[in-house]
Symmetry: C2
Subunit: 369 residues, 2 copies
C-alpha cells in the first residue's frame, strides 16, 4: 500500500476517527486505525464495537492495500510532521514507512483481517438537519445524562422524530433537559436512545456550520450520522425510554423573569464556597421584584440579591447550584423565565414555545443559619 | 479593619503573594495571606518560611487593622467577583465581610499575631537589572536544576556578580546551563546560591518589561528581589557551589553550525517514539555538511538528515534527546554552534562571546540496530 496526502488533511482525518479508538482495551486491534486504499480512496476507520467512525482523506493512492496502525503512535507521528506532503508505504509484512520532507519514521503495522468493519446500515429511515443545530442541541442536553451505568437508559439521550420536529431529551433522576427543533420536512415517527458517548464524540467532529448538513439514519439497532466525508455508526441503547411527558406540567404558583447572566455569575460565585464532594444547596428566597440567594458552608456564607419580575406567590426553595448552572449555561437567551410551584415541586426553566425545557428537582434544606 | 480596592488591583496583588503560600503544610497560619492596613497602605504578605512575598495594592484604607485570611478561599472569592470596587471589612473577631456590588461573602479570619513577618534584610550589597533580563536568564537556566533534594546545591542556581557581569548557572549532574549578562554598573564580587523554587516564582511575578528595573539585595543568608510594589525575600542555599569553570573547556575536534529550529523540531519528533520513563538516546552521525539523527525504540525507528556547516572530524555520538531540546529551546538565535570532542566528552552549545554555554554529557549507546 502506498499513498500521498497532505499532513493537514491526514491529521484532520486521523483526529476524526481517533474518537472511536477506546482508551482502554485488551484487544490490540481495537487500538488501531485501519487505512484502506483498496478502492482508490484513502479511507480511515476506527471501531470500538459500540461506536465506529470512517472518513476519507483526500490524497493520491499509488498502490492499493490495507494496513492497521496503532492509533496513538500514528497520530502522534502525523501531528509532529512538518506541514508538507506525507508519503505512507507499507510492505507485505505491514512494516510501514512514513516520510515527510527529510523525516522518516518506520513503525510496524498489522493486517486488516482482524479489524471489525462497520455494521451495514439500511438507509431507509433518515432525517436531515444542519450540523450547527445538531451540535447545539447535543451540547444543550448532554450534561444531564447519568454517567452511572446502573441505569443504562439514563446514559443515553432520547431522539424522537414526530412530523417535522426532532425532540432530544436527557435525564439523570434529578433533572430533565429537553430541546425541540423544527425540521425542514415531515418524517415518519421514530424514537431511539443514542448512547451519550456517541453524541459527545459526534458533537466534537461536527463542523458546526449552519450550511453544512448532517443526515441521520435510524435502524432497529443502530444509528448512522453521515456528514462531509465522515460516517459515524453507533449501537442504540435498547429499551423503552422514560415517559417524560408525564413528568412535565404547566401549572405554577410563582413565575419570574430574571437576567440570565446575572443569575449565572451569582451562582457561579456561590459555588466556590462549596468544597468538592460537599453538598450544599443554594437557598433562593423569591419576593416581589427580588430574588435573594444564600449559600452557607464550612468555608463561609454568601448573600446576593438580584432584581426580578415576579408574578404569583412568594417562595423559599433550595437547589443544587450545579444543576442550575448547567441549565443556565445551555440557554442562549438574555432573560429566562422560571416557573415554580412549591418547595417540594420541580422548577421549570422554559421559553414560550417550549423550544427548551429544563426541569430541576429542588433539595431539602435547613432554614436555620 | 476596612478598605476599598478595585477587584483587578486586589486580584493582581493576591496572585503575586499567593506564590509564597505552601501547597501543603500542617501550620494553618502559613496557608493565609496577611492583610495589613495599619500603616495606611493595603499590604499583603505570604510567607512559607523559605520564601516570603509582600506587595501593596492601591486602594483606600478606611480603618487600620490586620487580618489573616485563608489564601485559597480569599483568592477564589476575589477572582469570581464582578469587575468593580471591593470592600473588605473585619470585625474584632476577625470575621471578614467581602462586598462587591450586590454580592456579599462572609468568611472567618485569624489574628495576624501568629504570622511570621518577613526577615529584615540589610540593604548594603545590591545589583540592578531590567525585569526582562532577569526573567529571561532564569527561564534560560532553571530547567537544568535538579529536583532531587539529595544534593541541595543542585536544587539552586548560582548567581555570581563580578565587576559588571552577572553569571547565572545551574547543573544537575548531566548538564550545565550558564548565562552571562552585562550590568550597567560595576559591583563588588558576590556569589550566592538561590533556591530554584524562589527563582521560578520570581520569574512568574516579574512583569518582563525592558524598562522596569528589579533590584536584588544579597546578605549572608538571604536574597531580596525588589520591583514595582513587590518584595520577594528568600533564604539562600548554604555551601560552596560546584567549580563550574573547571568543567568547561574550549578544546574541540568537531565544530558545527546548524539551523536551530530544524534541529529542535527533528528531536521533538523523535521524542514521540519514546515512552514515558524509557531511556533511548538520539544517535547523531556527523559528516561533512550533514547531521543524521536516528532514534530506535520499541515503537519504531526514525531517521532524519539536517544540513550543517562542519569543521573537523566526523563523529558518532548519542544524547538524551530531552537535554538537547531543553538547551535548544533556551536559545534565541536562529543558528547555533556546537562543539564536540569525542563520543565520551561533553558537547558545548555556546555563542562567540559565551553569553550562553550549554554543556551536555553524551550517553553510551549500542550501534547495533
Amino acid at each position: 500500500m502506498k499513498f500521498i496526502c497532505s499532513k493537514s488533511e491526514l491529521l484532520h482525518a486521523v483526529n476524526i476517527v481517533a474518537k472511536a479508538v477506546p482508551s482502554k482495551t485488551t484487544m490490540s486491534i481495537l487500538e488501531c486505525i485501519l487505512i484502506d486504499t483498496s478502492t482508490g480512496t484513502i479511507k480511515l476507520t476506527a471501531n470500538d464495537m459500540e461506536l465506529g467512525i470512517e472518513t476519507i482523506a483526500k490524497g493520491e493512492v499509488i498502490e492499493k492495500g490495507i494496513v492497521a496502525l496503532n492509533a496513538k503512535i500514528f497520530s502522534d507521528i502525523i501531528r509532529k510532521l512538518p506541514d508538507n506532503n506525507v508519503t505512507i508505504e507499507s510492505d507485505e509484512n505491514y512494516a510501514t514507512v512514513i516520510t515527510c520532507e527529510k523525516a522518516k519514521f518506520k513503525i510496524s503495522g498489522k493486517p486488516g483481517d482482524d479489524f471489525s468493519s462497520l455494521p451495514y446500515i439500511e438507509k431507509s429511515l433518515s432525517i436531515s438537519l444542519s450540523q450547527f443545530t445538531l451540535k447545539e442541541i447535543i451540547l444543550q442536553t448532554i450534561f444531564s445524562i447519568s454517567d452511572n451505568d446502573s441505569n443504562k437508559l439514563m446514559t443515553g439521550e432520547l431522539f424522537e422524530v414526530k412530523e417535522n420536529t426532532l425532540r432530544v431529551a436527557s435525564l439523570d433522576g434529578h433533572r430533565i433537559s429537553i430541546r425541540k427543533v423544527e425540521l425542514k420536512e415531515t418524517y415518519p415517527e421514530c424514537k431511539v436512545i443514542i448512547p451519550g458517548k456517541t453524541l459527545s464524540e459526534v458533537s466534537k467532529i461536527l463542523s458546526g456550520g449552519n450550511e453544512d448538513q448532517v443526515k441521520i439514519f435510524f435502524t432497529g439497532n443502530h444509528v448512522l450520522f453521515e456528514f462531509n466525508e465522515t460516517k459515524v455508526v453507533s449501537r442504540l441503547i435498547e429499551g423503552e425510554y422514560f415517559k417524560i411527558d408525564q413528568m412535565l406540567s404547566s401549572d405554577y404558583e410563582t413565575k419570574l423573569v430574571i437576567h440570565k447572566k446575572e443569575l449565572l455569575s451569582c451562582i457561579d460565585r456561590a459555588l466556590l464556597l462549596i468544597k468538592e464532594g460537599e453538598k450544599k444547596p443554594v437557598i433562593i428566597t423569591i419576593t416581589d421584584g427580588d430574588m435573594a440567594l444564600k449559600i452557607n458552608s464550612s468555608l463561609g456564607t454568601m448573600n446576593e440579591n438580584i432584581d426580578i419580575i415576579k408574578e404569583g406567590k412568594d417562595l423559599i426553595i433550595g437547589f443544587n447550584p450545579k444543576f442550575l448552572i448547567d441549565a443556565l449555561r445551555a440557554i442562549d437567551n438574555e432573560e429566562v423565565t422560571i416557573f415554580l410551584m412549591n418547595p417540594k415541586a420541580p422548577c421549570f426553566i422554559k421559553d414560550e414555545n417550549e423550544s427548551y425545557i429544563y426541569l430541576i428537582l429542588p433539595v431539602n434544606f435547613n432554614t436555620a443559619p
